[in-house]
């Protein structure tokens, strides 16, 4: 990637700002908000993963949270005492694998589930595909809810607790660490971990988007019949899109389990799938910066609302008239309707930049957005 000096400075400023973000947030709003920012990062990763499936390949997936669940439970089972209950002979202390092993494992497992979902849905498109994926998401959640008998694999609705925190090279992210005289509380450490992974996901998305594979996905999105007439093996590429999206979802699920220390089926409801899909749609399908914006907005705004609405009503009326949760849904619904009317392609539609580049001075380089 080539940067001119101006954009180089901009990137440097952005990096510094992101590195300082947990400290600034902590100082201004308190530690609880750093945690909220951490969750926002997880949502961004999820939305970017879903963006591969929905934004690039055009496959509407309403059960995406299932892959997040698979990753989270994979991490939970491979890093908690829970399996000692189910298999006391084999694992007397449960399983405690290293984070560096479990994370790729979770991603691969979720990727496998992605193919499992993709294979029977290859002939479906649009609303039909949406219904099947929705069903898939629910199947996974219901399995997690009920797999506590005959063998207690998931501990049912109680979920799995006492999950090992993420530790990298013997540094446990669950405890405050002291580096060069600076105190890094746990939420800050997780922030940096998530930041690194988000950067990785952005990097992978960008590279995939501007590659032979990414172009083939977009061709399928635009016109599947024409794509196959141009020699694109639509079956394999759709499966690949499902698998890649699911891998990102699974990896973020594993991070979620390590961060939270507890997983239960209710974290993986249909509403969560819809939320992630809304992030992608609101921000701008197929556009990485749009999806990030959508993720930030939808993950942070409800919290802002919660912290403003209740005190505001308390001071105005002396009691809470409207519960922030229902107000959130009201605003959310209104926002989506307004969006569909005025910006149907999302806040940052993917082609704006392209049209700016429509001038004659097209760079000779391969990537079109490399400026």
């Amino acid at each position: 990637m080539k940067f001119n000096s101006k954009s180089k400075a901009l990137v440097a400023a952005l990096v510094v700002a992101l590195l300082l973000l947990p400290f600034i947030t902590d100082a201004l709003f308190g530690r609880g908000w750093v945690r909220i920012v951490d969750f926002a990062m997880l949502y961004i990763m999820l939305a970017l993963g879903l963006n591969i499936v929905v934004g690039y390949a055009g496959l509407l997936d309403l059960g995406y949270i299932a892959f997040f669940a698979v990753g989270a439970y994979c991490y939970a089972l491979a890093g908690s005492p829970h399996l000692a209950l189910a298999f006391p002979m084999m694992f007397p202390d449960g399983v405690h694998l290293s984070f560096l092993i479990v994370l790729p494992l979770a991603a691969l497992l979720a990727g496998g589930f992605g193919v499992l979902l993709g294979a029977p849905t290859l002939r479906l498109r649009g609303d039909y595909l949406a219904i099947v994926t929705l069903g898939f998401g629910e199947i996974i959640r219901i399995f997690l809810n009920n797999l506590n008998s005959p063998v207690n694999l998931t501990n049912g609705p109680q979920g799995i607790s006492r999950i090992d925190p993420v530790s990298v090279a013997n540094v446990r992210l669950s405890a405050t660490q002291n580096v060069l005289g600076i105190e890094f509380p746990s939420v800050h450490l997780y922030f940096y971990l998530f930041l690194a992974f988000t950067a990785l996901v952005i990097f992978a998305s960008r590279r995939l988007e501007r590659s032979r594979i990414g172009r083939a996905w977009m061709a399928i999105r635009e016109d599947e019949i024409a794509a196959s007439a141009m020699g694109i093996n639509t079956r394999n590429l759709k499966l690949l899109a499902f698998a890649m999206g699911a891998m990102f979802g699974g990896a973020s699920g594993a991070l979620f389990a390590g961060f939270q220390g507890f997983v239960s089926p209710e974290s993986f409801s249909l509403m969560e799938s819809i939320m992630v899909l809304c992030m992608v749609v609101l921000g701008g399908m197929g556009n990485i910066s749009g999806v990030i914006l959508g993720g930030v907005l939808l993950a942070i705004l409800p919290e802002v609302l919660r912290h403003i609405v209740v005190p505001l009503q308390q001071s105005l009326f002396g009691k809470t008239l409207i519960d922030p949760e229902s107000l959130r849904m009201l605003l959310f619904g209104t926002a989506l309707i307004v969006m569909m009317l005025y910006r149907p392609a999302g806040l940052l539609p993917s082609r704006v930049r392209r049209r700016e580049l429509d001038s004659d001075e097209v760079p000779e380089s391969i990537g079109r957005n490399q400026a």
Partner: protein, 258 residues
Amino acid sequence: MMVETTLLKLSSVGKQFGGLSALSDVSLHIRRGEIYGLIGPNGAGKTTLFNVITGLYQPSVGEFQFNGQGYQACKPHVLARAGIARTFQNIRLFANLTALENVMIGRHVRTRAGVLGALLRNRATRNEERAVVERARELLRYVGIEKPAQTLAKHLSYGEQRRLEIARALATDPLLLALDEPAAGMNATETASLKSLLQTIRDSGITVLLIEHDVKLIMGLCDRVAVLDYGKKIAEGIPEEVRKNPDVIAAYLGASHD
């Protein structure tokens, strides 16, 4: 060793949709390096034949050989790899991608980079990408639309879209280029320049199969012509011969009643 002169050979191909026989017992052969025209009244089965050849439909009976190999129940992408490229009667471009990207997608089948190549962007992948862009630009120039390379396909003019479809098809390095009514909706000037483009393509060694309604274009351009009517081939030969064939005249103008 004799070089096989027949590129595409259909033997008694039939296609049924429920009780409707869209094609029955169609046999024809297309020679390398010729422009082969396929004409017939509306609903005669021309596009069905096209879809069978390009793998969108599977023939109900019969078989076809392409480049000396038999193909039975093949997916479109397999036939594209084998060297059959097509355009569509109602243009099917990748509307929200640029003209250049449309042609680059045509290169998919002749390139190899996978996920790992995309993520690592190693030397081989970079070289391949560069070659793809170069070839795509070359093809846009070849069909005469290099200027709007960065315009979204849906914003191109109708004639440009038709040409872009041809460029995209050529990007797959086809042996046989199958064009479904490329001159539909074009004015006389556009048709004339399309004609010279098709001749250039033929002269570059690519065999062309052409469905067309514009009889003047067919007669002036094609080396041989086949006529379909109600799913059957009723005539085949050089254009002058076919034009005088009484069955063809009857199919187009209606049979006389005496």
